[in-house]
């Protein structure tokens, strides 16, 4: 699968140069570049780039740019930028780098990116474990995380982590939805629902 690359850069000259240079790379797919960071969170959530190439003067909040998507964030530098501002980026492209070096930086970044979604399916197992089923039953009965932790004699943190796995495996987020799931799978009696 091709890696999606998004460029955020106000200068059309730089964008066109970078596009030409990266277009020759068969493993990359270039998304329509953006000129600035308006509505950036929403756009990133929709576009889900594997690699984001951004001028640090536009935005250097790498954690926000990376989100929970595992996007690799590459700084595009052509004016003086303090070293400390570049510290959090996954890689840096200097505009004076050679054609090959720039392409290689982006390809390396793309290869090291991992979408959490694909990560989850790589784990492969969608069966709920015994413990997860036990937590699901309590969730469906309407108990809070704290109550479940006390009842099963584990920490709240453990319960939270089981719940995350339940949501990931079933694809169902709401308590009401999980209750239907539990009933359809005969995990609980209707009388047990509070």
């Amino acid at each position: 699968m091709k890696h999606k690359v998004l460029i955020i850069e106000p200068s059309e000259l730089i964008v066109d140069g970078l596009k030409t240079l990266l277009a020759a790379q068969p493993s990359l797919r270039l998304l329509e570049p953006l000129a600035g960071d308006d509505d950036l969170d929403a756009r990133l959530a929709m576009l889900r780039p594997d690699v984001l190439i951004i001028n640090p003067t536009v935005n250097d909040n790498v954690n926000r740019l990376r989100g929970d998507r595992g996007t690799r964030v590459v700084a595009l530098v052509y004016q003086y930028v303090k070293q400390s501002r570049l510290r959090h980026f996954d890689a840096v492209i200097d505009i004076r780098d050679s054609r090959q070096a720039i392409a290689q930086t982006v390809i390396d970044a793309a290869n090291s990116s991992n979408e959490p979604d694909t990560c989850a399916s790589a784990a492969g197992n969608y069966e709920l474990t015994k413990r997860e089923t036990a937590v699901l039953v309590e969730v469906a009965r309407g108990l809070t995380n704290k109550e479940i932790a006390e009842r099963l004699n584990v920490s709240v943190f453990t319960v939270t982590s089981h719940r995350k796995n339940i949501v990931r495996k079933t694809g169902i987020k709401s308590v009401a939805g999980l209750t239907v799931y539990a009933l359809l799978n005969n995990l609980i009696d209707e009388d047990a629902v509070l």
Partner: protein, 231 residues
């Protein structure tokens, strides 16, 4: 960067737009524009239905292009008198037509399920309808009157900041329902109705997603501007 793909020409025939993007049919119904538009242009139809063509095109663009979010300048430059009527009509459409339609599918599926599972799935849907009803009622009884007052030059105590803080998401429960129907129905209840229902839910989910996008990216900045101007 130019986004040349957007619709910008009110002299285009509306039928051409809808032919290339049939999902706009829903948008037309939210504007109160029926079928049978013949070869008339967007400008003509908008005139007949008292809609500003710039506003009409803005909404069409949001509906059609998944990556399109209008910029603050575009929102500022677009006449918004049609916005509240548009949103009200969309609400009525979801609650009066789309969701009851899904409810009828669900009823047919529930009839094939063991009693307790049927009860659970019916309760899930009823709860969802209640959630949607409450969400829309709040907008229509509190938020929209606030905006209409601002438009008329007045104002009240409500602020759009409250709206931003409390604007909930109506898509998650639909996702859950799709997962349940799609993955966990017992054999024997998975016929054509289940498939029809999934298509219907996916379509209304897309529509609701665009609806929220319009509220968050058009309504909110528009009203924040109004509030600022009043101060």
């Amino acid at each position: 960067m130019k986004q040349t793909y957007l619709y910008t020409d009110p002299s285009d025939k509306l039928s051409l737009l809808v032919t290339s993007h049939p999902e706009l049919l829903l948008t037309l119904s939210h504007f109160g524009i029926g079928l049978g538009v013949g070869d008339r242009s967007i400008a003509e139809l908008c005139r007949d239905h008292d809609v500003d063509p710039r506003f009409f095109l803005l909404i069409c663009n949001v509906y059609t292009f998944d990556n399109y979010i209008p910029t603050a300048e575009v929102v500022r430059a677009t006449p918004m008198s049609g916005l509240i009527p548009y949103l009200r009509r969309s609400h009525a459409y979801y609650l009066g037509k789309r969701l009851p339609h899904i409810g009828r599918h669900l009823e047919k599926i529930a009839a094939l399920l063991p009693e307790r599972a049927a009860g659970a799935i019916r309760r899930f849907f009823t709860t969802y309808i209640d959630e949607v009803t409450e969400h829309f009622a709040h907008e229509e009884n509190v938020v929209f009157p606030h905006i209409e007052a601002l438009e008329a030059g007045g104002g009240d105590a409500y602020s759009m900041k409250d709206f931003i803080a409390h604007h909930g998401n109506l898509e998650d429960s639909l996702n859950d329902l799709v997962q349940i129907i799609f993955k966990y129905l017992p054999a024997g209840a998975t016929g054509d109705d289940a498939i029809d229902m999934i298509f219907d839910i996916l379509e209304v989910r897309r529509d609701l997603h665009k609806h929220s996008l319009i509220e968050e990216k058009i309504l909110v900045p528009y009203v924040l501007n109004l509030e600022k101007r009043k101060k």
